[in-house]
């Protein structure tokens, strides 16, 4: 019990991030709406980013800007830099994903996954019926 309490109070960032990650992943898997899936994916990615950044915090540390003061404690800047790159990747993924959804809407006339799957199967059978 003490152990669980310790995790709750000290590693709450991990718990929050895991919670958000699972919500995101669940949306991706359970929704049929293509844009909702992309939003879920984005939530999943951003939860990981939050986890990274929160782990770079050093207790009592300030922003990592050199002031010349002796003995100052800084947060670890490296996770911030990494996540800055990862955010760019995430934005690019979301942009590309939405662009593809737009094209899907033009080609299929719907952005519901099950209707698209049905249309795909119809295309497949049309490919095969002339055997």
């Amino acid at each position: 019990m003490d152990n669980a309490l310790q995790i709750l109070t000290e590693d709450y960032n991990a718990i929050i991030a895991t919670f958000l990650m699972m919500i995101g992943l669940y949306i991706v898997m359970s929704r049929a709406h293509l844009i909702k899936k992309i939003l879920g994916l984005n939530l999943f990615q951003n939860a990981v980013f939050l986890f990274y950044i929160s782990a770079g915090k050093v207790g009592g540390g300030t922003a990592p800007i050199l002031t010349g003061e002796a003995g100052a404690i800084y947060s670890n800047p490296l996770p911030h830099v990494l996540i800055l790159t990862a955010i760019v990747v995430g934005v690019a993924t979301m942009g590309l994903g939405l662009a593809i959804v737009l094209r899907i809407h033009e080609a299929y006339g719907t952005i519901e996954e099950d209707e698209i799957a049905q249309a795909d199967i119809a295309d497949d059978t049309r490919d095969e019926d002339r055997e």
Binding site: V89, I100, R130
Partner: protein, 507 residues
């Protein structure tokens, strides 16, 4: 001159295509100009890769420090034999694919999107090259995503010809992004445990840690699953068949030859060079996971290929089976198994790109890739189908082809450890390959053309042989896959050095 080149080649091989791609996008709308630039850059990149392979063939390791910051603080590109071989495969596939692409893309894509195709192609190539060259775990994630994002776009570009390309690209995007995010979680756990991202440094510091650390188990599991999604290892393969089947022909050629293989490289790098087999998850558990999934993937992929009726999809399913072979050698976790995997990987890249180029030649002449519409096509396109047959023989593993060497070594490695069941599966799956390849050969050579049926509308123009600029790369790939079955010095020699260095690192 040679010394300066040796100093900067590890960076040049990637930076050339990476910097050219956006410049092409900004300054040129003419597809032919962009194509010529891309071809030139690919050629230079290929020459750099060949140069690096020659430099590392004696087991030497080249290290390039970006911005002059020495590792582990700075980002390091580290070229050993394994990286150099992957660079050669990717750059070679990109060069052949581009030679093939000009007429194929001009026919398959609307004029407005042709230059975009080459820009995405270059970006994808530079991403894959970057994964092979970098020695920084996070840098690897970024390159993986550059290549994947470009690959999603390349596949979606097939949407003008067949709308299923769009839904395939969307599914690949969702699965691929989940995979990449898993990979980044794994890298995060490693960084949190060691405080470093440089992979050599990471390996050193990891092994100073206590063996039972739970976060390291999580790290390895996340990295394996993330990369398995990118490899399309069974049961994470569902995105692959439609993505390969409906992408533009030239994109399929390049992706099938290079993309999954680079992900395999990344997995090997982490399993053997970073974690090692007696650390974290450990060799025995990996054995129990990778061997069965690889074998089931081989069998299911081949079954689906046998029953598919769309020529490109047959060989997309076959890719799942062939990736299973490569994973099998890795799962054996022996020196011989790794050697076999890399020989297999090399030869499969040649054979599969030749096969998809042959199918691309057919797609150039007719819109339909249904098997029933390929009846008698060998009469109209004899050169295409002859090259296809040679490459298909290598895929099956007929003697005197590259595929035979790979399968032989793999069987040998399995039997050396007493896994006779695995050897049996290898043989059985090769027979299944005969079946699905035969269905295409039968349609092309033995069936009468259906287009000449009485009363059938003759809407399509008579089929002709594909243009020379498409046949040339096709024949280069087909002949090379025979050449490397006879003269095995390059693939087997390289694979031996790779296996030795991995075995030394895995201890």
């Amino acid at each position: 001159m040679s010394e300066t080149l040796a100093l900067h080649a590890p960076a040049l091989v990637i930076l050339l295509p990476l910097l050219t791609a956006p410049l092409c996008f900004l300054f040129s709308r003419a597809a032919n100009g962009v194509w010529a630039t891309a071809l030139l850059v690919s050629l230079l990149s290929f020459l750099c890769a060949a140069f690096l392979l020659e430099k590392t063939f004696d087991g030497r390791v080249l290290s390039y420090h970006f911005g002059g910051f020495p590792p582990p603080l700075g980002i390091e590109y580290r070229i050993d034999m394994m990286s150099a071989l992957m660079l050669l495969i990717v750059a070679g596939a990109s060069l052949l694919g581009l030679l093939f692409a000009r007429r194929s893309v001009a026919r398959e894509l609307p004029a407005a999107r042709q230059s975009a195709f080459y820009v995405c192609y270059l970006l994808c190539a530079s991403g894959l090259l970057g994964v092979a060259a970098t020695n920084d775990a996070f840098n690897m994630f970024v390159f993986l995503e550059i290549s994947s994002l470009a690959a999603y776009a390349l596949i979606a570009l097939g949407g003008d010809r067949d709308r299923r390309a769009l839904s395939a690209a969307y599914n690949y995007l969702i699965m691929g992004t989940i995979g990449a995010t898993f990979f980044v979680i794994g890298v995060f756990f490693l960084y949190a445990a060691t405080g470093t991202l440089n992979m050599t440094d990471l390996a050193d510091r990891l092994h100073a840690l206590p063996v039972g650390s739970r976060s390291l188990y999580a790290a390895e599991a996340f990295i394996i699953v993330g990369l398995a999604l990118k490899i399309a290892l069974f049961p994470l393969h569902v995105w692959l068949p439609n993505a390969y089947a409906f992408a533009p022909s030239a994109a399929t050629v390049f992706l099938s030859a290079a993309a999954a293989k680079v992900a395999i490289y990344a997995l090997v790098r982490f399993l053997f060079s970073v974690f090692g087999l007696d650390f974290a998850i450990g060799g025995e558990t990996l054995n129990a996971v990778i061997l069965p999934t690889a074998m089931i993937g081989m069998i299911i992929g081949s079954f689906s290929a046998i029953f598919a009726r769309h020529a490109k999809r047959i060989f997309a399913y076959s890719s799942i089976a062939q990736l299973g072979y490569m994973m099998l050698g890795i799962g054996l976790e022996s020196r011989e198994g790794l050697e076999a995997s890399f020989v297999y990987l090399f030869n499969h890249a040649l054979a599969k790109s030749a096969i998809f180029m042959a199918l691309g030649c057919i797609a150039y002449q007719q819109a339909s890739m249904k098997l029933s519409d390929l009846h008698g096509i060998a009469r109209d396109m004899p050169w295409t189908m002859a090259a296809f047959t040679i490459a298909a023989l290598s895929l099956i593993g007929a003697p005197l082809t590259g595929g035979f060497i790979g399968k032989w070594l793999l069987m040998d490695a399995a039997l050396a450890q007493g896994f006779w069941l695995i050897a049996l599966v290898i043989a059985a799956v090769s027979l299944m390959a005969v079946l699905y390849v035969w269905r295409v050969i039968e349609a092309a050579y033995l069936k009468a053309p259906t287009g000449r049926r009485r009363g059938a509308p003759r809407a399509e123009a008579p089929r002709r042989e594909a243009p020379f600029s498409m046949l040339l790369p096709l024949w280069i790939a087909a002949l090379l896959s025979v050449y490397f079955g006879v003269d095995t010095r390059l693939p087997v020699g390289a694979a031996e050095i790779i296996a030795d260095s991995l075995e030394a690192a895995g201890q």
